[in-house]
């Protein structure tokens, strides 16, 4: 029987759910001794950090990877690593309690709901940081600049976006829900992979 494990770091927002899963869970350093065939990767990192990790998993003989690629260029990684069977953006809190899910074989069942009970929305490709994490990160980034510039009080910034364009939350309160670190990681990967100042942060 294939040994199937969860690998996580302490930063993942779903950590509390992951450690309740029926699968054994380990940190990246702890998993080296486990020699799994199937890995559920809930570590958070950039594209290059994940690339290094998956090369390590490949050399260990891991055959199947299901990965949180919220802050990565998922489209590149799924081409480089045929072991990647699913990619998902579960690290980016959603007001609809859902997340984007890509599957190499759309018909396959991997038991994701047993690991974390959120509603998947299937996508054709993970793209670069998926769609929702990428768009919301750049929106939140601009709100950060607006706060830095003293454009308005935080409560006015949030009120404007909720009542002017019907956003479900203001951007400052939205960042508090997702977490500053997740937003920073997404913007960092977009900046590093595209070399564009569009993703500059404060």
């Amino acid at each position: 029987m294939n040994k199937e494990i969860i690998v996580h770091d302490n930063k993942h927002p779903l950590l509390a759910l992951l450690i309740k899963s029926k699968l054994d869970h380990y940190s990246r350093s702890e998993m080296l001794a486990q020699r799994p065939q199937v890995v559920w990767d809930f570590t958070l990192g950039t594209t290059s950090e994940k690339r290094e990790f998956y090369q390590e998993l490949r050399s260990m003989g891991v055959q199947q990877i299901h990965a949180d690629l919220t802050s990565c260029h998922g489209s590149l990684l799924i081409k480089e690593f045929p072991e990647l069977q699913t990619a998902f953006a579960s690290a980016c809190w959603s007001p609809k309690e859902s997340y984007e899910l890509w599957q190499r074989d759309p018909e396959a069942e991997f038991g994701l709901l047993e690991i974390f009970p959120l509603q998947p929305v299937e996508v054709q490709s993970p793209g670069h940081c998926f769609t929702y994490p990428r768009v919301i990160s750049t929106l939140i980034n601009e709100a950060r600049f607006a706060v830095r510039d003293g454009l308005a009080e935080v409560s006015d910034l949030d009120r404007a976006m909720k009542y002017g364009v019907n956003y479900p939350l203001g951007l400052v309160e939205w960042e508090a829900k997702i977490g500053k670190e997740i937003i920073d990681l997404i913007l960092r990967d977009l900046r590093e992979e595209t070399h564009s100042d569009r993703y500059q942060t404060l």
Binding site: Y132, L139, E142, M161, V165, Y167, L171
Partner: protein, 288 residues
Amino acid sequence: MALQLKSMAVIGAGTMGKGIAQWFAQQGFQVQLVDTKIEIAQTSCHQIIASWKKLVEKKKFTEEQALMFETMLSAKSLEEMNDCDLVIEAIVEKKEIKDQLFKDLDEKLPDHCIFASNTSSLSIAELSQAVSVKRRARFLGLHFFNPATIMKLVEVVGTSDVEDGLAMQIASWFQKHGKEAAQCKDGPGFIVNRLARSFYGEALRIVGDENTEQEREVDSILKQVGGFQMGPFELMDLIGIDINLDVTNIVWNAFHKNPRFAPHPLQEKMVKDGRFGKKTKKGFFSYE
């Protein structure tokens, strides 16, 4: 000076001016809807009255309320307009025309009258240079959202010349009358037009080039996962891809072409091809 708001005038009887006038009449104001030609203002007044009749049928207002609103509303030409406590300009977005209008109003209207512009793209401080130093203390931006009778937000934009507390007083007044007022400084795009830019810009970068299926998917993801009411591509089609690009360029230029606001070639191509969205029956999606 204490806030005294009982009568107001809207200059410009187009879509926004009409909506603003209707909203103020519904708050019990004496409202003058003013245009260069009185016939334009009269037509708009008739349309507002027709709207109230429909709202009575839908039981949003009683007949008595609608009749009262009607008595509060009048059409005027610029020459005929009377004194008022608040004047809001909602004319074409051309600075030289606004400047002349404000100069003329400054000479005509009493000292206590508050001047406001509904501009979405011009600097309030620059517009206020058209009026006297004394008037600049009571010159703000009041940026409403379309339709003004339904959308709750009004951005209250102050400048360094505005008298202490006035913006706050006005914001509080709007809050008491059911609007959500967001005070801000006089920056490009104010709050919403600045912060919302990457909703469109990032979506365009995700698809890169024309791809209807991917555009639909992006819209769908942002609604199903992000909780947005509309996706960026359908929203651009609704607003007008040309209008959206204009706002993008205004903000981008005002921020010295900062890449955070840069327009996307796909949007520029759509506008060049005359595909503006719903109003031309072709945008990112087809409406034929």
